[in-house]
């Protein structure tokens, strides 16, 4: 019999991540230094935030494929704004990025909640549209470090009480999501509409309101990450974070968020993101081919889905006492 603790998938995932870190540390001890681990967390900050926003969307049985496109568009727009108004203080630039991202997220939300088009169709469309708009607003030129002020470029390097700003922001976002999802009526509503839309409707929870909210939040986080991405890598152009939406969704799935909606925790999504973050950061250190990285994340996604499917399978209600007894004896669940 497995210890009960191991049955908790979050604990299991945390153990896997820890084992992975130690294994990499065995081959390259430098990976275990505090500085190196902080840089892994800093690098994974984007994934932490985007995975949490994506989780809220997936909880409502939706999906947001436009996150990376929104990130790129917001990144380019905010870089343009900062270039033409260099006197803008960085906190204002950051706020502006959130507003721009939220606006494009709200467009997704309006189309999905207002008109009732399936999320996968809407966000597949806006994925292309948002990347296309970049051409329209920025023209064919790339915005590079020469278009950015020193304050803009140095923001990701700045620290608050010794903690890198990216980690501070990611922690704030995580805390906000944790509070929203577990402590507020809105949060419970998001779980309810995904878990059982019919029952949620009977309880008076408005599906479209929840949908509009989660897509707008997802957009806001994408916008925030757009600014951070542009300032961290010193570049803003059409292909920014190209295809990154799939990594974000993978982080959610690995973290135990059910694509069928209604199931998922902040802790799980963070662990899922951390797992992918450790994999992509560890491989360069131990000189492993990039193809292994794809293979490893793919295998883990499938494994996670299998584990999830087992956890989610709800047995029908058993009425006969004999059947109940048989079920209780045969399965621990």
């Amino acid at each position: 019999m497995m210890p009960a603790l191991l049955k908790n998938r979050d604990v299991l995932l945390a153990l896997i991540v820890a084992t992975l870190v130690l294994l990499v540390g065995l081959r390259a001890p430098v990976f275990l230094t505090a500085e190196s681990l902080v840089s892994v967390l800093t690098d994974t900050s984007f994934l932490f935030m985007l995975a949490l926003a994506q989780m809220a969307v997936i909880l409502t049985r939706g999906i947001d494929l436009s996150v990376a496109a929104n990130l790129a568009l917001s990144g380019v727009m905010v870089t343009l704004a900062a270039r033409s108004m260099p006197w803008l203080p960085i906190p204002v630039v950051l706020l502006l990025a959130i507003v721009i991202g939220a606006f494009f997220g709200a467009i997704n939300g309006a189309l999905i909640a207002g008109i009732g088009i399936p999320p996968i169709v809407v966000t597949l469309g806006t994925l292309s549209i948002y990347r296309g708009i970049i051409f329209v607003v920025a023209g064919p030129t790339w915005l590079t470090s020469k278009d950015m002020s020193t304050a803009f470029l140095d923001f990701p390097k700045s620290t608050l009480l010794g903690v890198p700003s990216l980690i501070v922001i990611a922690t704030t976002v995580a805390a906000a999501f944790a509070y929203l999802l577990s402590q507020t009526q809105t949060g419970r509503g998001i779980y309810a509409v995904g878990g059982n839309p019919v029952a949620a409707r009977y309880c008076g929870i408005d599906l479209s309101k929840q949908q509009f909210l989660v897509y707008t939040m997802s957009g806001a986080v994408s916008g925030l990450c757009g600014f951070l991405w542009a300032s961290r890598y010193g570049i803003a152009y059409t292909d920014l974070a190209y295809g990154y939406e799939l990594t974000v969704i993978a982080a959610c799935v690995i973290g135990g968020v059910s694509v069928a909606g209604g199931i998922g925790t902040v802790r799980g999504a963070l662990l899922g993101a951390l797992f992918l973050g450790v994999v992509v950061n560890a491989l360069p250190v131990i000189n492993v081919s990039p193809f292994w990285q794809m293979l490893i994340s793919g295998a883990v996604i499938l494994a996670a889905v299998v584990v999830n499917a087992r956890a989610e399978r709800r047995s029908g209600k058993l009425i006969l006492p004999e059947a109940r007894r048989a079920a209780a004896g045969g399965s621990a669940v």
Partner: protein, 338 residues
């Protein structure tokens, strides 16, 4: 009524043909301007925009040539074939292609050749059977050697050096790395060992991470060569962000506009690239002379206007010249151009 209508149609049709004929002739008389299409890997790329700028300069110098500068939005072979198909249907006179895939473009290039369209490639070659010739910006050996010489000069020939490449499958990257290793065999580099080659896949985040990985894995690392514009700028950003400017130097192939900051901050001492304006100019000059009947087969010499002449090798490729080196003294001037 019916017969009448049919007759009317006939008359209308005859009239249309009749009136079209003179227009047809007139059209030919007006079509003295030859049309050259420059089809690059993808749109929205500063480097190719500069190439197109050069193509326009060449067209102005040659006279009687219109340049169509186009590409797909994504750098894939499928999308590029669709763009080429459309241009073949429009019956342009010449094509200058930077290929997203050397072999996948062969059928569409052959189709173009059958219709009398002259096809050459630049930047990234179409396989030999698909084009008349390919113009390299420089020879592989020159590009490889130059980068090793640059880092050796910066480091005074001492210290560990790593290569930060794009994807492990890219032909041009791998042949440049081979050329670097060839140069590295010379005795003057014996105190400057090549420790590893890593791949950033031409993605900013991955290249940045690989650079951080290099710093962690090789504590004595002094220099990095990145023969890709994305790798060198992300690597340089990682050096600056890590507070390593002045301790670790990056060099390679970069764009002045993207590298200016990092040169001034001391993460990069020198870097090189061919001038894309001159490159687009030279390719257009070559195609212009082919359109005027020049032979650009193996063993022949092609004219590149003010860039001089180049000899076409047996594999149908020619080289424009040596890569141009940028440093503190000239990077700001060129950053305004490309």
């Amino acid at each position: 009524m019916q017969t009448n209508r049919r007759n009317l149609l006939k008359i209308a049709a005859a009239g249309a043909i009749g009136s079209a004929l003179p227009f047809g002739f007139a059209g030919n008389a007006f079509a003295a301007n030859k049309r050259i299409a420059m089809v690059v890997k993808n749109l929205g790329n500063t480097y190719f925009d500069a190439c197109a700028e050069g193509a326009k300069q060449a067209a102005a110098e040659l006279g009687g040539i219109d340049i169509i500068y186009t590409a797909s939005t994504k750098p894939t072979a499928e999308e590029q074939i669709a763009v080429l198909d459309a241009l073949v249907a429009q019956k342009v006179d010449g094509l200058i292609i930077s290929a997203n895939d050397p072999s996948a473009l062969i059928p569409v290039c052959k189709k173009a050749a059958e219709r009398g369209i002259k096809v050459i490639s630049f930047d990234s070659a179409v396989a030999q059977e698909g084009r008349i010739m390919h113009l390299n910006p420089s020879s592989t050996a020159l590009i490889g050697a130059k980068q090793v010489q640059m880092i050796a000069k910066t480091l005074g020939g001492k210290g560990e050096v790593a290569i930060l490449s794009a994807a492990s499958t890219m032909t041009n990257q791998n042949s440049w790395i081979e050329a670097m290793k060839e140069e590295w065999k010379k005795p003057e580099y014996k105190d400057m060992p090549l420790v590893t080659t890593v791949y950033g896949d031409d993605q900013d985040d991955k290249s940045y991470r690989e650079m951080q990985g290099l710093v962690k894995s090789f504590p004595n690392l002094k220099g990095v060569i990145s023969p890709t514009t994305i790798g060198i700028r992300s690597g340089a950003k990682a050096i600056v962000d890590g507070g390593l400017a002045g301790k670790i130097f990056i060099t390679g192939l970069g764009l002045p506009s993207e590298m200016k900051d990092y040169v001034l901050k001391g993460a990069c001492d020198t870097f090189a690239i061919w001038n894309p304006i001159e490159y687009g100019y030279a390719a257009t000059m070559v195609l212009g002379s082919i359109l005027n009947g020049a032979d650009a087969g193996p063993g022949k010499t092609v004219k590149m206007g003010k860039k001089g002449e180049a000899m076409v090798a047996d594999n149908g490729e020619a080289a424009m010249g040596e890569p141009f080196v940028f440093d503190k003294s000239n990077v700001e001037k060129f950053a305004k151009i490309f």
